[in-house]
C-alpha cells in the first residue's frame, strides 16, 4: 500500500516544477503550461485526501472537479489574453508585456 506521504510529496514536487515554469519561462503560453501543472498537483492532493480520509465524504472529488472547471476557465481566458496581446503587440514574451508598469 502506498502511504499518503508519497502522494503529497509527489504533488509538492509537481507543484514546484510548475512554479518554476511560471516564474522562469519567457513565453506567456509556457507560463500557462506551468500553471496547469500546479493546478494538477493540487488535484492530486485533493484526490489523495479523499482516498485516505473518509471515502464516503465526496468533498475531495467534488473539489477536484471544480478545479477542472477552474482550470478550463483559466486556460480559456489566459490563452485568449495571450492571443489578444499578441494581436495588439505582436509578442508573447511575458517580459515585454509590461504595460501595466505604472
Amino acid at each position: 500500500m502506498v502511504p499518503l506521504s508519497w502522494y503529497l510529496i509527489f504533488a509538492a514536487a509537481l507543484f514546484s516544477i510548475g512554479l518554476f515554469g511560471v516564474l522562469s519561462r519567457r513565453n506567456a503560453v509556457a507560463i500557462l503550461l506551468g500553471v496547469e501543472l500546479m493546478l494538477n498537483s493540487v488535484n492530486i492532493n485533493l484526490a489523495a485526501f479523499w482516498r485516505y480520509g473518509d471515502v464516503s465524504q465526496m468533498a475531495g472529488q467534488v473539489f477536484a472537479i471544480i478545479v477542472f472547471a477552474v482550470a478550463a476557465a483559466e486556460v480559456a481566458v489566459g490563452l485568449a489574453l495571450v492571443i489578444s496581446v499578441y494581436r495588439r503587440r505582436n509578442t508573447v514574451v511575458a517580459d515585454e508585456i509590461n504595460m501595466m508598469k505604472w
Binding site: 477542472f68 472547471a69 478550463a72 486556460v75 480559456a76 490563452l79 485568449a80
Partner: protein, 117 residues
Amino acid sequence: MSPWIYIGLFFIVGLIIPVGAIGFAWFLGPRKSNPIKRTTYECGIETVGDSWVQFKAQYYIFALVFLVFDVETVFLFPWAVRLGQLGLFAVVEGIIFILILLAGLVYTWRKGMLEWA
C-alpha cells in the same frame, strides 16, 4: 485486483501491436533514403515557405467553445447517473445548468463567433 490493471494492459498491448507492426515493417523494408524522397509533398510543385502557417482565430474559438462544453458535460455525468433516484428537483437543477450553458452558446452565436468566415 484493480480493474485498472486491465486498462493498463490494454494500453500496453495497444502500443505493442502498432509498434511491433511498424518496427517489423521498418526492419523488412528497404532503407534507401535521399533528399528528394524526403522533400515535403504538397501538390506536386515545390513547396513555398514555412509549414507553420498562421491559422485563423476561428479554430481557437471552436476549441474554446468545445472546452467549455466538454467540462460542463463532465459535470452532467454524475448528475445523469443519479437522476433516476433523485426526482424532479435534480432534473430542474440540471436543466438550469444546461440553460446557463446554452446562454454562453447563444452569446457566442450572436457575437458572430461561430461563423467560419
